[in-house]
Subunit: 336 residues, 2 copies
DNA sequence: CGGATCTGTCGAAACGCTTCGATTGATTGC
DNA sequence: GCAATCAATCGAAGCGTTTCGACAGATCCG
């Protein structure tokens, strides 16, 4: 395969000239640049990645620590992974995918071997073993999500508290006084994932602030459990007129199906709101108002920060993406 | 960060001795090996990935070409991606994730820059632009899936034809004479994804062979379309007693929900079989018999072949994974 | 008991790039 | 009109490995 020497020879210049012509780090004569580019084209030249890493002190690779825990919704996870990969390419970065099988060791491995310039950490839990490791590793790292102790870290995340508050506000605004939250899989809360807890706590707090009655139940994808959760939410307090779904797509579909089966008319009998969903709620029956969780919203800035941090250290921060509301008519004033 | 020089100094040997002690490519005195290992431990040494690539002609990275087309089910896709990543780690390989945004150019880029030793290609379509590129690139590559023209390629895939035949056989065996197939999203067939077509064709052929009546309809995840597909399948031919679902989890859930809504008792009125599903069908209502599509079944061999091919070229082949049947009681003889 | 063989180790040459400092003309400023 | 500046280019020194060939000393065998 063609090396920089071949390009230099064909263009009739030295290899350093080729390097500068391609990197643009020094000024180069117009005709020279053209000859170099022609030679590159003709030979199908691509700089050897290893050589570039060795000499350039930059790998142009980001590690993506994307464990897939049980309880995490695959489509959402996939969407975040793809979003990071796309965003990275925009910065001329590739993404090395790290699963959780090695635990935090994988991170250590790629950082210590200088395989990657930085790390994007997904699916952050409250007590995340990766936090301390990364603190000690001194590698540019961005957390998509916020661990309990975020001191010294750079984090980007949807503002789940604001989203929860917003969902309560919306229901309150049209007159609901008794509302309920169908939350994520219990496995997620158990694992200490931060966002379900933050959402739930903010939801209950916002409801309490407004003197509203508020219920909470969790459900994994098993329809029996969804049924049971809905029972506990709607059964015990027959006055519930507003339901917020903070779960994955499958559970939301199942829940809506169960409610329809039971003859609950939505939104007439029950206003429903899908919160922090990274999927479209338009094709639901009925289409649901939503506070969308758009992967790009957090992943694009996360990657940008990572790339920036590769160049020069940046100050620790927690960047929260404000929620926004998309109406589809599923939240209306309660009947009577 | 510690380099091999530091290790050599601390262990009191030359760098080549360190290299050989760590690689095991030449015999090393016992005491030397111990001192080297101690030094490595103490310094937290890890070979510089770039230097290793440059000198060693091996990157220990596989590219994973995992486009995410519309119509492809994210959970299934995710499962394959994760399976490849895990399998790769078993061979001491990392995985570089390539999305489809660059088209085939990304493959070319990483291959030409010798960033990766080989490529795993997912989500293969009949006329896949990546096929010709890879033929010309002369890079170890394994296709998970089979393109129309597989000459010269190494492919691994579930045997979808056998799976389709098996599902027909099972229904025939208990006495069904009129069956139907609910297929994937039309987008998938349009895109020329091989497996939905192969499954459908084999399904219809197997039914014809046995003199059975067989219907076919497609549906994406929109419940309205699922409803319509079921109408066309079950409505026009009221004698259908066996239904095969070859779709993603969401559609299967939706379909079962619709059938229940309509008062169809399963399996009494309708035997249902979930084919080539990469998710659990046990928690469905009712739990479905399935011919599971296990990502590891194809990804583990695919990675093994890729790694093998990095060492020495291997003969082109198409390796088809035989299907197996897992019963949950959803297929029974037709009523009356 | 002297050449052949083996074991354990070392030095040095790649590997292909980036980047620093030097060099050569041409241009500028005063 | 001469020093200072600038644009364009080159040579060479790394970057941190792997690996080849060499070599010293121990072991073997006839």
């Amino acid at each position: 395969m063609a090396s920089i020497h071949d390009v230099a020879r064909l263009a009739g210049v030295s290899i350093s000239t080729v390097s500068y012509a391609l990197s643009g780090k020094r000024s180069i004569g117009e005709s020279t640049r053209i000859r170099v580019n022609d030679a590159v084209e003709k030979l199908g030249y691509r700089a050897h990645a290893g050589a570039r890493m060795l000499a350039g002190e930059r790998t142009h690779i980001l590690a993506l620590a994307a464990p897939l825990h049980s309880g995490t919704s695959e489509p959402a996870h996939m969407a975040f992974v793809m979003s990071v990969a796309r965003a990275a390419r925009e910065h001329d970065y590739d993404v090395l995918l790290l699963t959780q099988d090695e635990g935090a060791d994988g991170l250590q491995r790629v950082a210590l071997s200088r395989l990657v310039d930085g790390i994007i950490v997904l699916d952050v839990s409250d007590q995340d073993e990766r936090v301390d490791l990364i603190r000690s590793l001194d590698v540019p790292a961005i957390f998509v999500g916020v661990p309990r102790d975020s001191a010294g870290l750079v984090c980007v995340d949807m503002d789940f508290e604001a989203a929860a508050t917003m969902s309560v506000e919306r229901l309150a605004a049209v007159g609901h006084r008794s509302i309920a939250l169908l939350g994520q899989s219990p496995a997620l809360y158990d694992r200490g994932s931060g966002f379900p807890r933050r959402f739930r706590d903010a939801f209950l707090a916002a409801a309490a602030d407004r003197g509203m009655a508020a219920g909470f139940a969790m459900a994994d994808r098993d329809p029996a459990n969804v049924r049971q959760a809905l029972d506990s939410l709607l059964g015990t307090d027959p006055g519930v007129t507003g339901l917020v779904l903070h779960t994955d797509e499958g559970v939301q579909t199942t829940a809506l199906g169960i409610l329809r089966e039971r003859g609950v008319r939505m939104p007439h009998d029950l206003s429903v709101l899908s919160a922090c969903s990274s999927f479209s709620t338009e094709h639901f029956e009925p289409p649901l108002d939503t506070i969308p969780l758009v992967p790009d919203d957090s992943c694009v800035p996360a990657v940008a920060l990572a790339v920036q941090q590769v160049g020069a250290p940046i100050a620790p921060r927690v960047e929260l993406i404000p929620p926004r509301y998309v109406g589809h008519g599923s939240v209306v004033p309660p009947a009577a």
